[in-house]
């Protein structure tokens, strides 16, 4: 059995010589949800890009059972779904469905299968009604959900999300959380939205100056005020960690309860908003 991410001694320097990742080690098992915390400039995005072979540093990197190298890029990119921070970067096709179809088509799937994947991907982020719309007509929250659908349609083994809740209003953020909690993938989430990490991930690591400096249960890390402060992180003022419950995983709870207000809302409005 392979693991989801096995990184040892990963080092990467920016073209200007500035070190971004410095002998980074991380091990993630299949099925884990891990939050990667750290202030801006800690190297979070650089690390994410390594997981998809967009950047290549030195060191050993095995992701989703594939040893990262130039010859394994196609395989790697099918297995690792990378959701970028700015959905406007990720959604580049004229319509939503063409964008969701982009990945599956690149995988060389048959058109009927692609069509199925598009429908399935959009349904799982509750954006089925927007298939033929151009991305610029969508709200930021909707764009973010479509961006997630574009990688879910490739059925990756590992989902990597870069700042998923950035620039979202509270409602869009809650909808995003509801979508993510039902996604049954190994997940790596970079964020400085600590309450989001507390609700979504059971494990957290802190990335600072290109290294993993803390690795423990999410609530354990978020409960350590001194540790957070030492790395320029903090919970919102007055936030009570004890009041936050980790959202149940898709396998461990009924997937969509009858009384889900969102589902009822979608049913009454036909899902269009």
């Amino acid at each position: 059995m392979t693991c989801a991410i096995d990184v040892s001694n990963l080092t990467y320097h920016y073209p200007n010589g500035h070190p971004a990742l410095d002998r980074l080690d991380l091990h993630v098992e299949h099925g884990e949800r891990v939050a990667v915390l750290g202030p801006n400039g800690a190297g979070k995005t650089t690390f994410m890009h390594h997981l998809n072979g967009l950047l290549m540093g030195s060191g050993d990197l095995e992701v989703a059972g594939v040893r990262v190298g130039r010859d394994t890029l196609a395989e790697l990119r099918q297995r690792v779904g990378l959701v970028f921070q700015d959905p406007d970067d990720q959604l580049f096709m004229p319509t939503v469905e063409e964008d969701v179809a982009f990945g599956p088509l690149n995988m060389g799937l048959e058109r009927d299968e692609v069509r199925r994947r598009v429908a399935e991907g959009l349904a799982s982020v509750r954006m089925g009604h927007a298939a033929s719309r151009p991305p610029y007509q969508l709200s930021m929250g909707e764009r973010r959900r479509v961006a997630i659908a574009t990688v879910l349609a490739m059925r990756p083994m590992l989902l990597v999300l870069d700042e998923p809740s950035a620039n979202l209003d509270p409602r869009a953020r809650r909808e995003l959380l509801e979508v993510l909690e039902r996604v049954d993938h190994t997940m790596l989430v970079t964020t400085h939205d600590l309450p989001l990490a507390a609700e979504l991930c059971e494990r957290a690591v802190i990335l600072a100056d290109g290294r993993i400096v803390a690795d423990a249960g999410c609530h354990e890390i978020l409960g350590d005020a001194d540790l957070l402060r030492a790395h320029d992180l903090e919970l919102p003022a007055g936030f009570e960690l004890t009041g936050v419950r980790l959202r149940p995983r898709p396998g461990s709870a009924p997937s969509i309860p009858e009384s889900d207000p969102w589902v009822q809302f979608e049913q009454t409005t036909g899902g269009s908003r």
Partner: protein, 261 residues
């Protein structure tokens, strides 16, 4: 200002009844049909008025079937037409022949006026054709049509990205203008234009960085230099009938005009 930009971009979308027969035609049929109208008009000799009338009639029927109102057409043509007509407005004074009319210090010629009328009509017909295509076909559909008609893929891709990011860039420009205005930037003379130059530079750099990020996002989903196609187009009987009807009406008149010359 941002609102104004968005407003003018709205004029690029569909108009009329989106469920109309014309809207539902294959984009290739509409491209071929409306380009044919333009070609016939442009290639027709100056005094062959029945051909111009027939072109306008065809456009009127297409517009009517699509329920695109004259107001929609006017709102969209008024941006393009003045620029097109600007070139033709000198013709009556430059082209000699026929009767002469004094217009202030200038002299207009009858032949020149006739040429001006014909050129204006050609320009109007071409513009309305393009406007009707845009009003009945979404831009992504036009792109699919062009691609299916073997337009070089690189050109289609450039157009597709331009369309996708035009709105993003307009929004960014709007924000930068607002940022300038919020700090009391009110250019009074040419020396004050320097700030605009820096805005342009910043826009260029941002666009460049965005291009890089978009390319990474494409790579991350397995892009290998080939743009995949999602839904292939299928020509139906109605599409062939549309093109055939347009040609049946226009070609005989066009040929007759040639014979009469």
């Amino acid at each position: 200002m941002g609102a104004l930009c968005n407003h003018s971009l709205e004029l690029t979308g569909l108009a009329g009844d989106p469920a109309s027969r014309v809207h539902r035609l294959d984009p290739r049929a509409k491209l071929l049909g409306l380009v044919a109208v333009t070609f016939v008009a442009v290639s027709t000799p100056v005094s062959a008025w029945p051909v111009f009338a027939a072109c306008l009639a065809v456009l009127a029927v297409v517009g009517g079937l699509a329920r695109v109102t004259a107001r929609d057409v006017w709102r969209r043509t008024r941006f393009i037409l003045p620029i097109v007509l600007l070139a033709a407005v000198f013709l009556p004074f430059v082209r000699a022949g026929g009767e002469e009319y004094a217009v202030g210090p200038l002299t207009a010629h009858a032949d020149g006026l006739e040429t001006f009328a014909a050129v204006s009509l050609k320009a109007t017909i071409g513009t309305i054709s393009a406007v009707l295509l845009g009003a009945t076909t979404t831009f992504p559909q036009v792109l699919r049509g062009l691609e299916a008609m073997r337009t070089p893929r690189l050109l289609v891709m450039i157009a597709a990205f331009m369309y996708r990011y035009l709105f993003v860039i307009v929004e960014e420009t709007g924000r930068m203008r607002a940022a300038l205005a919020a700090r009391a930037y009110r250019p009074r003379n040419a020396l004050h234009a320097g700030a605009l130059g820096r805005v342009a530079t910043a826009m260029f750099l941002r666009t460049y960085a965005r291009g890089e990020r978009v390319y990474h996002a494409m790579l991350a989903r397995g892009y290998d230099g080939q743009m995949p196609q999602f839904s292939p187009l299928a020509l139906r009987r109605a599409d062939a009938a549309f093109v055939a009807l347009v040609l049946l009406v226009l070609l005989p008149l066009r040929v007759a005009a040639e014979v009469a010359m």
